[in-house]
Symmetry: C2
Subunit: 459 residues, 2 copies
């Protein structure tokens, strides 16, 4: 009857968690999440380095391909009857690559918004936890103040009124002792008071970082979209300088794509390690940061039958003391009021205070129960380990598609511009974009007709 | 110090809620959510009818356009030197329309997944609420049984042991009375027992409907994607029968798009009315369905300072009775055990039971507090009024784009196939799809070259 079933690691977490990890000396590293350990850091850096290796390899392959094409088959004018081998499909492969890149951009936008959703779920769970914790502190403070005020004023008045009958004064003193006991017990319940860790601060930090991450990705995605569209435009208008500029931009975006791929892969691997068994790590980290006892943290982070409520005894003692105050006040009302009518006012006021205190006490019991805070913890984990991880995997797919598409485009673009008919170089360069879209398609079609001579030849 | 700020209507809700509504006689209808009222139903049906009107209008416009084109400018062979006015841009506008349709499909997939997310948030909130409600019932049942067992066995044994000393027997009887009072108070707390409404059932029903809605949209989106791709293929291969078939399919999808647009618009309008002030409607509906008192429902649905806990008195009485049992047991232990050592065993067992009952009582206080259930209510509202509404608006945008794109395509396609060179009719019809993708593009390019003769003419 504890919390309902909460976070469970997904299949992706298991899959990524089972991938082998190695440090810089290629010795295997255990896949438990330990970001403070040197070997684990090296394992994550190695994932980033793999992306760097991929970038290097693809650059070498592109260079080798282009050198081979340049040196072995110097491009002649395409009007020669024998078509350059493969030359007919240069523009085709370039366009296909750019379209795949555009599909990748769609996937990237989806992944970016999914990641953003996950982070906002995480920070809203942190804000909710912060609200609960500060509500506990506030409620304890308020109740303690109210009880203290009642002890100072009403109980003192009552003692003065009843001063002639010692047994009634003794009962009043008993109520005072019980009230002080309740105050003391309640003060021990404000467990988050003075703790240096603020979930609000963490949520703000997370949102701040996420804002910039989101913006950076949107800019990268827009940059790649622009490169794709302007490259298509350049091919359509056969504008040599636009295609050359876009080739250079493609190179820049290729480097950025591999870079983001490395970061995403390392983050996804680290996140999968964290998400496969988050409780231990979060427990230890929170204990270090807050200095709270492990019984309290275990209660909130695990929240199952096996862990007993660490506030149980304080709550029970407060409850008994409150019940005792009530029966003492009732006794006083029965005994004292007929003889001392002036005792009625402070007694009624005390009963009112007692009722409010009991209401606050029930609210406090509800707030202190692990259910609420554990639900926030589960929501934060689901945001991080389901939505954020899923978003990262989509971004990874985007980076992969974009790296592949850009590498293909980089192989084809120089060949495509080399195949542009010489006259179009100077003549058309200045005129692109001055006429409507119809002529763009016309150019694409006309350019295609020339570049794909072998296609049209059999007609 | 109640629940943290929960659901707030979004800007979209306000915007849609402010749109004027009218019934079939075009009299204005107030925009409060009242699905059981005839006029409100008519207002929603009118929104669907508007989409039907849109479909009719677009069909008439398409037919008029095609008749005008057919009758006024009978398509001659495109080889004539004077190009048919506008004929050069037929394929262009067709391709642009299909590409816009494809972008719409992407938006539709996003909207569909967003709606699905919202519904799953709604049903998970319902499941969570169901868990809380059944946990309350279960906990009350368990505690009452445990207390009843203690009264039947340990307290009876104790009375038998202490039968020689009447004042101790009286104290035991006092404890028995208090235990019975606790049992009675606790039984009143299981407020959901015997209520005919099960959130679990509602969640299952919602998930069931959502599953089919999701599937239907995915099928519609895939159908539209296939129509777009095959139309492009047909244009590229100049395959007359494929283009004719796709024109018919486009007509079918156009009707489906307008139909889905009407349903989405009506749902969005109804949802915005519901979401602008959901509390009253949900309160009344739940009261009708469950027959629970309005104090209980107000407490859980509003959960603010102004509404007091309807279980406060029962909880306070139970708490006092438990404290009294405790003090009576302590008194018995002090007085009876030195004289009757055999009383120790039942007394210890009773104290154990009392401790467990106090733990259960604190858990019950936490479960009964409005915080948890109100948070589920807020999550359900956010799922329905934020995610589902946002998803519906994206689906609306998809339907609009798709209706526009298909209408343009339907205007252009018959003109495009009329412009296909006659020889390609029979010759190519059987051969599409038998050669690779390269020839598709080739066809698109070659077809484009012919269809866009005016573009190439100035060369």
């Amino acid at each position: 009857m504890g919390a309902p079933p909460g976070y469970r690691p997904s299949a992706w977490v298991h899959l990524l968690h089972q991938l082998p990890r190695a440090d810089f000396q290629l010795r295997p590293v255990p896949s438990g999440f330990a970001p403070q350990e040197r070997e684990y850091q090296q394992a994550l850096l190695l994932v980033v380095a793999l992306a760097g290796l991929g970038l290097g390899l693809s650059l070498i392959l592109i260079a080798a391909y282009l050198i081979r094409v340049c040196c072995c088959q110097p491009p002649g004018p395409p009007s020669a009857k024998s078509p350059p081998p493969g030359g007919g499909c240069v523009t085709w492969s370039c366009i296909a690559a750019l379209l795949i890149g555009c599909a990748g951009i769609g996937i990237g936008f989806y992944g970016n918004s999914e990641t953003s959703d996950g982070v906002s779920q995480l920070s809203s769970a942190l804000l909710h936890a912060n609200h609960t914790l500060s509500a506990i502190d506030h409620l304890v403070l308020e109740t303690v103040e109210r009880l203290g005020e009642a002890v100072r004023t009403e109980l003192t008045t009552l003692e003065e009124v009843l001063t002639q009958r010692t047994e009634l004064v003794a009962a009043t003193r008993g109520a005072r002792r019980q009230a002080e006991a309740v105050t003391q017990q309640l003060q021990g319940l404000a467990f988050w008071q003075g703790v240096p860790l603020s979930p609000l601060q963490v949520a703000e930090d997370v949102s701040f970082v996420e804002e910039y991450r989101w913006l950076a990705y949107v800019l990268l995605l827009l940059l790649q979209l622009l490169v794709c569209l302007f490259t298509l435009l350049g091919l359509a208008k056969q504008s040599k300088w636009l295609v050359i500029m876009m080739t250079v931009m493609s190179l820049v975006v290729l480097v950025l794509s591999w870079g983001s791929l490395g970061l995403e892969a390392a983050t996804a691997v680290g996140l999968s390690d964290f998400c496969s068994s988050p409780d231990t790590y979060v427990l230890n980290l929170t204990q270090e940061e807050t200095g709270l006892g492990s019984d309290i943290l275990n209660y909130y982070f695990l929240c199952n039958q096996a862990v007993s409520n660490p506030f149980q005894q304080r709550l029970t003692l407060s409850q008994r003391a409150l019940a005792n105050i009530h029966s003492q006040l009732q006794g006083l009302e029965r005994e004292a009021v007929p003889q001392f009518p002036s005792a009625q006012k402070p007694l009624l006021s005390l009963e009112e205070t007692l009722n409010v205190t009991e209401g606050n006490f029930h609210q406090l019991v509800a707030l202190l129960h692990c259910r609420g805070l554990h639900k926030d913890y589960g929501a934060a984990l689901r945001g991080l380990c389901e939505d954020v991880l899923e978003g990262l995997l989509f971004l990874l797919l985007f980076s992969l598609l974009s790296a592949g598409a850009l590498a293909t485009a980089l192989c084809s673009l120089p060949r495509a511009w080399a195949l542009f008919p010489p006259r179009s170089g100077g003549e058309r360069a200045g005129s692109w974009g001055e006429d409507g879209g119809g002529s763009t398609l016309k150019g694409l079609v006309c350019g295609g007709r020339i570049l794909m001579d072998p296609c049209i030849a059999p007609q």
